[in-house]
Symmetry: C2
Subunit: 301 residues, 2 copies
């Protein structure tokens, strides 16, 4: 029998085992830290941030599935068995949730929602006009992968001026494409609202730093919905994710009037969809077909 | 010389006269309450809520332009000179601003933004999963005109299940259409988030009342971005606009934990775009061409 080992925090395990049991009844499920299992019997692993060195202890591992789109938790494992393909979870529902989160925060900033929340607290009818027209508001998305592209399209459809920056040139209708280190400055100089959706790799670690912020126009707004590792916290103007998650209660960012903090809520992989995803890919693999969304370890995503 | 009379609060006048002077330099502009003018010399009026009876004092009036999409401020004038066409401001920028506001408030509710704002105030990392999947969240839009249709499309593109209710059946891709009094109950019963974008007419006055709320599923959320007159305030569960604008400081809705209150900010007509709109329609009219967006006084919008 084929065994899938789930390596997640125990409290979260039922969320994943329930749909997996229903959607992939032929798989034998084991939960790391809860169920006994033979390392040699584990065929597949579904995880997010496995303990470093753990995957190397499974001699017959065929595929590692990431629970999320980001795979930095695996790449940080120096002992990751590189011969075993690592498959990212690339799914429309996940991208759509991320795009919703991005659209909501762009609109809350653009439409001065914090100002109106304060007005409501004060019971004051503070009628104003938006400080900048939508057509004149330039959004820049760092990372034009599946998620970045969807967010760009949804913001474009609301009439914002949208551009993206990525490793290679992309073609997205109505979205200006900047590519490579050589075009980063030009991209930043035309960006009023910067959104980070990059994968975390050695190239992108700490990219949201003082030098980058200095190239943005005065008053620019930054939304980091990627990883804490993308930002240098000491250099931060405005941020949504942090180097340390959860953010400690004593961190001054919580109370900064220009900062909006939310937990890791922009998109949580849908366990049911992920269960189907994993089942289908195992079936394809077992039919000898080519795997999709396999991580390129050189590129780092 | 052709005279356009601007009948708006004096403080707001420069916002409109500046682009009008630039965009329509051939028009003679007069501001009611600021400039002297001969009633017989007034050809056109641009206004939002003129004093009842005032328009009837202008014997040579050719067209009345509404500053906004809603014309209830004119229809409330019993002495409105019915022979004079009343032209609504129907413009993509205005519809787009309204759609943005609607999308933002749908997302803030759907994504539990108030919960995360409280968590931020408490410096607590309260990781949660959305209570309802986007695909299972049914949005119902009362009024599928220019604004309602655009809001429906933008919400549909974020994967919500969208339906609209209007006087006559509408065809909007991916949006279910309900029409007429006979289909209102079926529409309400399938609606988790109800958005009111109706024109205010004798038929729609007070439509957001106890009887209507009772037909919505338990826990439904209401966003009224139309007029205060659509809602019966005593019957209100959640509301964004009020019978009395501005909402008095003592009104308990300000402090209700389930209510979000903002001033009249969802969309303000863009004076520059409106100036072009008025100029073009005057030119067309003067060439003897047919006017568009003329209000049907029987229908009431």
């Amino acid at each position: 029998m084929t065994t899938l080992l789930l390596a997640v925090p125990i409290a979260w395990a039922p969320l994943w085992t329930t749909p997996l049991a229903e959607i992939a009844p032929d798989l034998k499920l084991a939960v790391q830290g809860r169920d006994a299992f033979e390392p040699a019997a584990v065929d597949y692993v579904l995880s997010f941030r496995p303990a470093p060195g753990f995957l190397a202890t499974l001699p017959n591992l065929k595929i590692v599935f990431s629970l999320g789109a980001g795979v930095d938790g695996f790449l940080a494992d120096a002992d990751y068995p590189k011969a075993v393909p690592l498959v990212r979870f690339v799914d429309h529902t996940l991208s759509r949730e991320m795009a919703q989160y991005v659209v909501m925060h762009v609109l809350m900033h653009h439409r001065q929602q914090p100002f109106f929340e304060q007005a409501q607290k004060d019971s004051k009818w503070r009628q104003t006009i938006p400080p900048r027209r939508t057509e004149d508001t330039r959004i820049g998305i760092l990372g034009l992968g599946e998620i970045g592209t969807l967010a760009a399209e949804r913001l474009r459809d609301l009439d914002f001026k949208v551009a993206g920056w990525s490793r290679t040139k992309k073609t997205v209708e109505g979205v200006e494409s900047f590519a490579g280190a050589g075009e980063l400055d030009a991209f930043l100089m035309r960006t009023d609202i910067l959104i980070c959706l990059l994968p975390l790799t050695p190239d992108t670690k700490g990219i949201l730093n003082k030098a980058l912020f200095a190239k943005l126009p005065a008053g620019a707004y930054v939304i980091n919905v990627a990883r804490g590792g993308h930002q240098v916290e000491g250099d931060l103007i405005a941020a949504l994710v942090f180097e340390t998650e959860p953010l400690p209660e004593t961190n001054p960012l919580w109370k900064h009037p220009k900062v909006i903090v939310t937990p890791h809520i922009a998109a949580i992989s849908d366990p049911r969809v992920a269960a189907e995803y994993v089942r289908d890919r195992i079936a394809r693999f077992e039919r000898g077909e080519k795997l999709d969304n396999v991580v390129d370890f050189t590129r780092g995503y």
